[in-house]
Symmetry: C2
Subunit: 379 residues, 2 copies
């Protein structure tokens, strides 16, 4: 009996995209799905009730950030992350590795783990597979991630090969250090950058370790979208069909659809919540910077085709005013709308898979959103 | 038929405090009541639904701030302030006078009005009784306030006398300039500082103009609480019993009770919302700075005796973590709790009046909250 299991419902005839159900100790969720990010044990600006209202299923929280503040010992003492943050649905925690490589300074990578200075006060810290497991076991997330190295893009072949091999050794150590496999499922992370043979090597290493799920890591780190899609097409067939597949850090509407087409089941990204706090929203006809002065007298909703709480009750003019004056309700409304937009998008993706018309849906969505325009922004 | 009327239900036998109902074009509300402040057409951090959930009735918004941003013309174009901010209950707007005197620079007061520079960019502006009425008519609030001068404390007698006389002349001009008396009620503001004869003069001038309600202004501006109470005791008997009485800018629990005891029906203050954003909350046993490190492992609620959403679902440790990391949900939870606290306090005050035991309630509340301690903070 494993904590996490995946049930394949059907495969889209046009593309191979998968409709499935992810079973967790805190509920079952239809896939493909988008997971909102709650870095510091809160999805920025949102309450748990609002997340449920928009249909959020699994949320993600960041091990590195919670390790530093408030500290995993405090979260454990509170009864775990679910209890601490008042969230009774599933939680996925990352390993901390990505933040160590993207946020911290003076990194030194050794076989044992990574020495670095934290981004808050410069304190010396050390993170390893064993420590990441200890922290994630204390947090009590439903899905934990193996501690890996996420090399920058582009990386030299020789460096990437060594890194992939170390990540495989670390994955094995993670499995050994993981103390709560009955109620927490540990996912392995396939690395290898843009090198197909290294992706293959990484996938084979990890699949032989029999994780309950697999992530494709090291994408959406600066490479062209074509490279990401090519790597997904190459990698997902190497992963077992009866396990969930998670594409880390991806949340732009086009990439969600293109990822699903290539057999991805789970996505997460700070994009919808981050751009919301800058007054930018996703709409059915493309992105809209509502804080711009030109919306000062626009009394229509953020998105004419949206029925979310923000669009039903507030005008662009009002939300523009709130963002312009730094009022928290403005950040709340934009965040609410953006998360609703992506969650509804994934519902549409699942419906399209159900009806074997995902490529048609893609075509229609891309056209309406403006992704087909020659000058389409990489959004 | 006036827009605003007051229905006196009963008077507390111990104190003369009044239980009543304020009738407005957007609903009827029991008094004494506390009105949350929504400076820029939003009660900071809160949604309208949350305000209703905690039992808020009338909210206050600031004419000066809305005049500058987004501009009263935009609010008018949106259909008025209720429509603009999605609030279908009553709204009171101040006159802008207080902000001109407290926020702006290079003020020059003339008979016609006040020249000043705005606090955002230093632009030259001019505000007068007529302009304040025009802006408030455009906003469409249920209760408008007359444009007055609120002199600083302490002020010389001679200055105060001239100011009071000018405020009376301005009040008359406000009445003449007010264009929507059928759906907006205009309140006069009694000034006079700590001088009883000037309070009397001001009250008589304004009462002769027959406003549908009266505010006591120029208190809670730095004077001792005893002075405020003495001035209230002197002033409220000069006001007609069949009109509502509003004490401006007062929101500390002790002053709400002491104001009600002296016949005040309406209060407003930024205190509960402002201190919330600094991680300070009001509890049944006094104030608590939840952002302090000592609450890092305190897994109890903000207030053991509170049944608000924040207290039912979150621990001090979690809220402390959120405030410590500047997470918006932390500001939301503290704001929610503080407003709930004051709104419940006013419910208790009304119940005590109903049962002729307001002084007993005061004694008990002051004891528990710590206002009777020799070193009690002026909170």
């Amino acid at each position: 009996m494993t904590a996490i299991s995946y049930e394949l419902i059907k495969t889209d005839k046009q593309t191979g995209a998968r409709l499935g159900i992810l079973h967790t100790p805190h509920g079952s969720y239809e896939t493909p799905m988008f997971m909102p990010v709650g870095t510091l044990a809160t999805v920025k600006t949102m309450s748990p009730e609002e997340l449920k209202e928009i249909g959020a299923g699994v949320i993600l929280s960041n091990t590195y950030h919670l390790w530093l503040r408030p500290g995993h010992d405090i979260v454990k003492e509170a009864g775990g992350l679910h209890q601490f943050m008042n969230w009774d649905q599933a939680i996925l925690t990352d390993s901390g590795g990505f933040q160590v490589f993207s946020l911290s300074e003076f990194r030194k990578i050794e076989e044992e783990g990574v020495h670095f200075r934290n981004h808050l006060n410069g304190d010396k810290l050390f993170l390893s597979p064993e420590i990441s497991m200890e922290v994630q076991n204390a947090l009590g997330s439903d899905i934990m991630m193996a501690f890996d190295e996420c090399p920058p893009y582009p990386a030299e072949y020789d460096y990437m090969k060594k890194s992939v091999e170390r990540t495989s050794r670390w994955a094995e150590r993670c499995l050994k250090a993981h103390k709560r496999s009955k109620d927490q499922g540990l996912f392995g992370i396939v690395q290898g950058g843009e090198y197909e043979d290294l992706r293959k090597q990484s996938a084979e290493d990890l699949v032989s370790l029999d994780f309950p799920g697999y992530a494709v890591g090291g994408l959406s780190v600066g490479e062209p979208k074509e490279t990401m899609n090519r790597m997904l097409e190459f990698t997902t067939p190497l992963l077992p069909a009866d396990k969930p597949r998670y594409l880390m850090g991806v949340g732009s509407p086009d990439s969600l659809i293109d990822g699903a087409i290539r057999g991805i089941d789970m996505f997460d990204c700070v994009l919808p919540t981050r751009i919301a706090r800058n007054g930018t929203v996703m709409t059915s006809t493309g992105r809209l910077v509502v804080k711009n002065a030109k919306y000062a007298r626009d009394f229509g909703p953020l998105d004419d085709h949206c029925d979310c709480y923000a669009c039903r009750n507030y005008s662009r003019a009002y939300i523009r005013h709130l963002i312009h004056t730094n009022e928290i309700l403005g950040f709340r409304l934009c965040t609410y709308h953006n998360l609703y937009f992506l969650i509804k998008l994934m519902e549409q993706v699942r419906q399209a898979i159900r009806e074997d018309r995902l490529m048609d849906f893609r075509e229609q969505f891309f056209e309406q959103y403006g992704f087909n325009k020659p000058n389409a922004k990489n959004f």
